[in-house]
Symmetry: C2
Subunit: 431 residues, 2 copies
């Protein structure tokens, strides 16, 4: 039986999960794949984290170079996260011809081009299944299973923390701050949750999916990103009354004039495949021209789900299939001019949910409707709610599809009316 040696850099949540699967699976992985994958070394600079793996403590080293530079190690797993030293360590491993497996979406979204080029140049590969949607094998599906398709769009829930917070806001009727505190108490949100809550993590993952979907390098800077921290509990309630849920969505869509890319909270109607993706689950809806919509759904984070994805990439590299598929991944072959242009957020078309909070007096609705009409924003439905504490009457509206720039200009104009008690609040709608 062929033997392949693996080294892991970083013994945190994901590294621990991957190590447990490699060293302790019963029956062993080799029974299933016919290759003996040996975990040779784990580099973890914090000795306080060392714990026996497969009964061995001597598997640990303090220095990451003991993994990257070991000529016996064939596959290097980087699971320390962050840009540096992760980037340098991956480059170092690639330079030595090793296959790399990583869960580092922030690094790949920021510096993927450099790393992928290096891997290509050295005839090796970078596996990153674990970087998107945890244990859900959606990167593999984009690379292999859906390869016959022209991908028209991806609409996805990619951050479990935010989805948990939103689920609690919707189902528990509680405000954002309280839902976040619950998520932190459950261990689903970090002490500093900004990366999850403000959408950055979702945007990193969207960039990776979009690169695969559109076979071109997508730049993180081109993804307008909005998080969920400013969501009002009442908007979630009103949306619910109208048959919509609220999700933090990552959207990438091919349009005749370019690519639409965005991350923001959005209303999704009951019956939409992502509507029932709740709690810490992730859901990725891929629209292929041949397949139509395909939904992938599961746990997007956590020790064992993400460990499962890391080990899938290790097996891919050990089988030799990673290198073959990687060398043919066309998104690096396309020249700089080959990527379709990204459509500015101003130019997208979508439907909107809006809440105006206004003084209860005659003429208000007429004034709002007039401004919307002037900006070519047509109203689909409108409900006036009971007056709220703090003053003002909420008017909740759904629009038909409108151009973002027009819609926002209308919001600014309406917000300047003296009858507006608060600035208008709005959310985009994904049908």
């Amino acid at each position: 039986m062929k033997t392949v040696n693996v080294g892991i850099i970083g013994f945190g949540t994901v590294g621990g999960g991957a190590a447990a699967i490699l060293a302790e699976s019963d029956p062993p992985l080799s029974d299933k794949i016919g290759i003996d994958i040996r975990l040779k070394r784990i580099a973890e600079k914090n000795k306080g984290l060392w714990r026996p793996v497969g009964g061995r403590l001597d598997i640990f080293a303090e220095r990451a170079e003991d993994v990257t530079d070991d000529p016996e190690i064939d596959i290097v797993v980087e699971v320390i996260g962050g840009i540096e030293p992760a980037r340098s360590l991956i480059l170092r491993a690639l330079d030595r011809g090793k296959a790399v497996v990583t869960a580092n979406k922030a690094l790949l979204a920021a510096r993927g081009a450099e790393l992928f080029r290096k891997a290509m140049e050295k005839g090796t590969s970078i596996g990153f299944e674990a970087s998107v949607a945890g244990g859900v094998p959606v990167i593999g599906a984009m690379r292999d299973g859906l390869i016959a398709n022209r991908i028209e769009a991806i609409v996805a829930i990619l951050n479990g923390t935010s989805n948990y917070v939103l689920t609690r806001m919707v189902e528990g009727g509680i405000p954002f701050s309280e839902a976040l505190a619950e998520a932190q108490a459950q261990g689903y949100a970090e002490r500093n949750p900004a990366n999850d809550i403000e959408g950055a993590d979702t945007a990193h993952k969207l960039v990776l999916l979009a690169c695969l979907a559109f076979h071109s390098l997508v730049d993180l800077k081109d993804v307008p990103t909005e998080g969920i921290s400013k969501l009002a509990a009442e908007d979630i309630r009103y949306a619910g009354e109208m048959g919509y849920g609220v999700k933090l969505l990552a959207i990438a869509r091919r349009r005749p004039n370019g690519l639409e890319l965005r991350v923001h909270p959005a209303l999704v109607p009951k019956g939409h495949p992502l509507y029932s993706v709740r709690d810490v689950f992730n859901g990725v809806l891929v629209f292929g021209d041949a397949t139509g919509p395909v939904l992938f759904c599961g746990r997007g984070a956590g020790r064992m789900p993400t460990g499962s994805a890391v080990v899938a990439d290790i097996v891919d590299a050990a089988r030799g299939t990673a290198r073959q598929a990687f060398s043919k991944m066309a998104f690096l072959h396309t020249g700089p001019g080959a990527a379709p242009p990204v459509i500015p957020l101003d130019d997208i078309r979508t439907r909107y949910f809006v809440r105006f909070t206004v003084q209860d007096k005659p003429g208000v609705l007429g004034a709002i409707a007039r401004v919307l009409g002037e900006k070519d924003v047509s109203i689909a439905s409108v409900i006036q709610k009971e007056p709220v504490a703090g003053g003002g009457v909420p008017i909740v509206m759904m629009t038909h599809s409108a151009i973002e720039k027009n819609f926002r200009t209308a919001m600014e104009e309406i917000g300047r009316f003296p009858f507006c008690v608060r600035p208008p609040a709005f959310l985009r709608v994904e049908e």
Copy 2:
């Protein structure tokens, strides 16, 4: 650029879809994968079906051997269906060292062992992504993306025709015969729908998934199979009132004492991931020990979705990755004794939904409850409904988890009571 030649046997729905993708994709497939995949020949004995593909009519041949025996053809796609001559043609192609791609679940479920062994012996591969869940890449996920997992269970909706019929029965409140006629009018059901409606097609697909999940050869004869043709509209209505949908489920589950395998209609509660898989969609829920539940969902049939899966397998073979992964697929390495035993249906434990139709007189419920109690079947809830046309009062019951054999014995005993106007009707419940 490397060139790979493909021949297709059968120009029906699936063959036509695959041919269209290979010959007419824009941009061409080669741009994405860096390999020039050329559709060299299509064998279709019915000349009346010949239509230009990529502008060429000279691509057609009448004899399948013009594909299997052509030394220039590297990959043979078998999409004629049925056992013979499909089996002989596949063996003939494998004997010549060609990679085979097929959508033929009936053949693989019946004769997979023979075909897989031949492919292994010849150092080639059989791709069968298109045989389960159409365009949804679930075979690939089982082989690659979820490889790090011990698969604990698969619960799946694998037949689009049945799912459409059930969706119409549930949402339209119409009886089976009417829903089936609608499905036939829509082109979703064949003139002779038995294979879809009676569960055989679902059982074939379950066998393939179970082989991959449990790394052992599962025998079609070990899958108790029940279709949807005997489902009463009223049971679907009562189930709906209790918050359950009805789906034709394929279930494969690892138990301490062996494998549980079965195909039958079942109640699934609102909130279950398969509850919202409606219409012609398929859904496959895989429970991995590391990932937890992962749901795959999409169109399970049709020209382009299934064509997409065929072409994914062609790309897999063209890249050389198919052979590598196939040679390591352990379910053929395990000896005859290595497969876990299959648990007889009598010995499974599950919850049941039951409808008794009885005379409205004192003591009836007591008599029913007594028999159930004697057989260790405990009642979770019971509702007496309004009397029905044709006589009798329906009593609808949900049980707690019980042993199938005990439950069925109780049903027989109760059915013999003179107060039973009709034999008890029951459905299993999947939580």
